[in-house]
């Protein structure tokens, strides 16, 4: 099994997001960047598939050279190879551009694959677009938001989380899967893994190597304003003993908020 995992460098979930209102961008200075949390489940699943069935795990990121740090982490977790597709364009929150780049990488450089794994969305852009778009471009079956994955020969079964229930999906390989929390418990890097990752060279591909013109991948959306959400005002503290406070709360919800 040849498995490719696509990962992204994102600000960690504890980050306070500050905005540059002139450029309509998030101020990156002072943010702590990590491997996007859902991508960790995708990497772990790829490693488990390799452990069960053999083959190779290659991790790919599209972004600036700063993404080398998360690729090193994936190598330290146990991935065999890592590749950076260098794209210095600022974050445009456009899944189409990333999907075109990834699809072209697969067509031009890595035609031999069985499974492409993603996190169900990157934390931050929150688009949940790239897996389905790449599946569309490459004409592959897709199962998103997966909490259970079984591969048998050239077919697979995946459980996909939808509102309140799970959908059981059947598909043939090659296929695209995006990981949801619950799929597995990602492993930590080992000391040995970290030492090996340090020595490992990560090839860097340029967009030029992929015969992609800047025009083809130009985002077709434009952010015209970025702002912080309106702050919520702290409301009333309801005083009194529990019995009295509960009674008052229910009255307020009925008569003032009118939500029950």
């Amino acid at each position: 099994m040849n498995v490719y995992v696509f990962v992204k460098r994102v600000p960690d979930t504890e980050s306070k997001i500050k905005i540059n209102h002139e450029t309509n961008t998030v101020i990156e200075e002072g943010l702590n960047f990590v491997l996007s949390p859902y991508d960790e489940y995708a990497v772990e699943e790829a490693l488990r598939i390799r452990e069960a069935k053999g083959g190779e795990v290659t991790v790919v990121s599209v972004g600036t050279e700063e993404s080398l740090v998360i690729l090193k982490k994936c190598l330290a977790m146990g991935a065999d190879e890592a590749v950076l597709v260098k794209d210095d364009a600022p974050e445009a929150y456009d899944g189409l551009r990333t999907s075109k780049i990834i699809s072209q990488v697969m067509r031009k450089k890595f035609q031999n694959f069985d499974l492409l794994l993603f996190g169900k969305q990157s934390v931050g852009a929150d688009n949940a677009q790239v897996p389905s778009m790449v599946a569309g471009f490459l004409g592959l079956p897709q199962v998103n938001v997966v909490t259970k994955l079984e591969i048998e020969g050239n077919r697979g079964i995946a459980h996909r989380e939808i509102e309140g229930v799970l959908e059981k999906n059947e598909f043939s390989l090659p296929a695209i899967i995006s990981a949801q929390k619950g799929l597995n418990e990602p492993r930590y890097e080992t000391l040995k893994g970290i030492m090996m990752a340090k020595k490992k060279e990560i090839p860097i591909l340029a967009l030029n190597d992929l015969d992609l013109s800047e025009e083809e991948i130009m985002p077709q959306l434009e952010i015209i304003k970025m702002e912080s959400p309106p702050p919520r005002q702290a409301g009333k503290i309801i005083e009194g003993e529990p019995a009295e406070a509960a009674k008052k709360l229910v009255e307020l919800l009925r008569n003032e908020a009118k939500v029950i």
């Binding site: 979930t13 504890e14 980050s15 306070k16 905005i19 949390p37 456009d94 189409l96 999907s99 934390v123 929150d126 688009n127 949940a128 677009q129 897996p131 389905s132 790449v134 599946a135 569309g136 471009f137 079956p141 897709q142 938001v145 459980h159 996909r160 989380e161 939808i162 509102e163 309140g164 229930v165 799970l166 959908e167 059981k168 598909f171 043939s172 929390k181 619950g182 985002p219 077709q220 959306l221 434009e222 952010i223 015209i224 970025m226 702002e227 912080s228 959400p229 919520r232 409301g235 009333k236 503290i237 309801i238 019995a243 406070a245 509960a246 229910v250 307020l252 908020a257 939500v259 029950i260």
Partner: protein, 325 residues
Amino acid sequence: MILVFIEVREGKVKKSSLEVLSEGSRRAGEMKTEVNAVFVGHNQENLASEVFPYGASKVYVLENSLFGHYSAQSFTQALVSLVEELKPEVLFFSAGSMGKDLAPRVAAKLGVSLASDCTKTASKEGKLEVTRPIFAGKALATINLKSLPQIASLRPNVFPLTKPVSKKGEVIKKDVVIPEDQIKGKTVDILREEGAELDVTEAEVVISGGRGMKGPENYDLLRELTAILPHSAVGASRSAVDAGWIGHQHQVGQTGKTVSPNLYLAIGISGAIQHLAGMSSSKYIVAVNKDPEAPIFKVADYGIVADLFKVIPYLKEELRKILSE
């Protein structure tokens, strides 16, 4: 034309699709165009009448027996060919699980960008402008979609339903030809877990428990509250989920679900920044926590500073009383 994809689950039109149709109808009025609906399914003609009251002028019903099993591949083929024929200016999806799966594939096939999970739409000079939360709501981005059709998915539970009007329109049925061997993946079954609960993203009231719940057994207290309150669901903080007290599908926050119910009850939740991101767009927030300094009180409309285990029994009693009146 604004075209709205109508999601059907187990033979029923999803309410979130009617919300999207309502919003489409408001924008169509301003943009001086019409809003039409499209179903992709097997034997769904009878459902068409349900969407006219929410503003649809025409309803397209795309028919193939294969559509009985959801497949992003077959649904995309059907939608793309209709869009290429009708050339709508705007294509809307609900950002529920089906829309989130389908819309990006449709956008890719049409070669256009997509704005996912929007919480606001507006028309500016005949074009659509949308706003979507990023970083789970820590920031809001307003977006121009530069190519046609402009495709967006809209977050469930955010856009109000229009008042239904008694209205009929044209139903246009189209048989779609799709070679079965081209479909390489599909849904074959729905797995219902025992005591399947309403999803937090669809609930009108979310009752969430955090670390203060002390253990998995105490989530029954919250389930008892959801049994009393109609359209309510149990949520949880990340620390409760990571402790294994409750399944991750209940998690609200930046690595869980983003919710905007009418009422959010945060029980024993301190209010870490990644949790606040996921629930701050709720219409009303109630916090019960024994720590008066907990950050959750900074966003709560109503707060009770007390031991949650002492408050919940009374809360249950009072809710039961008022709801039975």
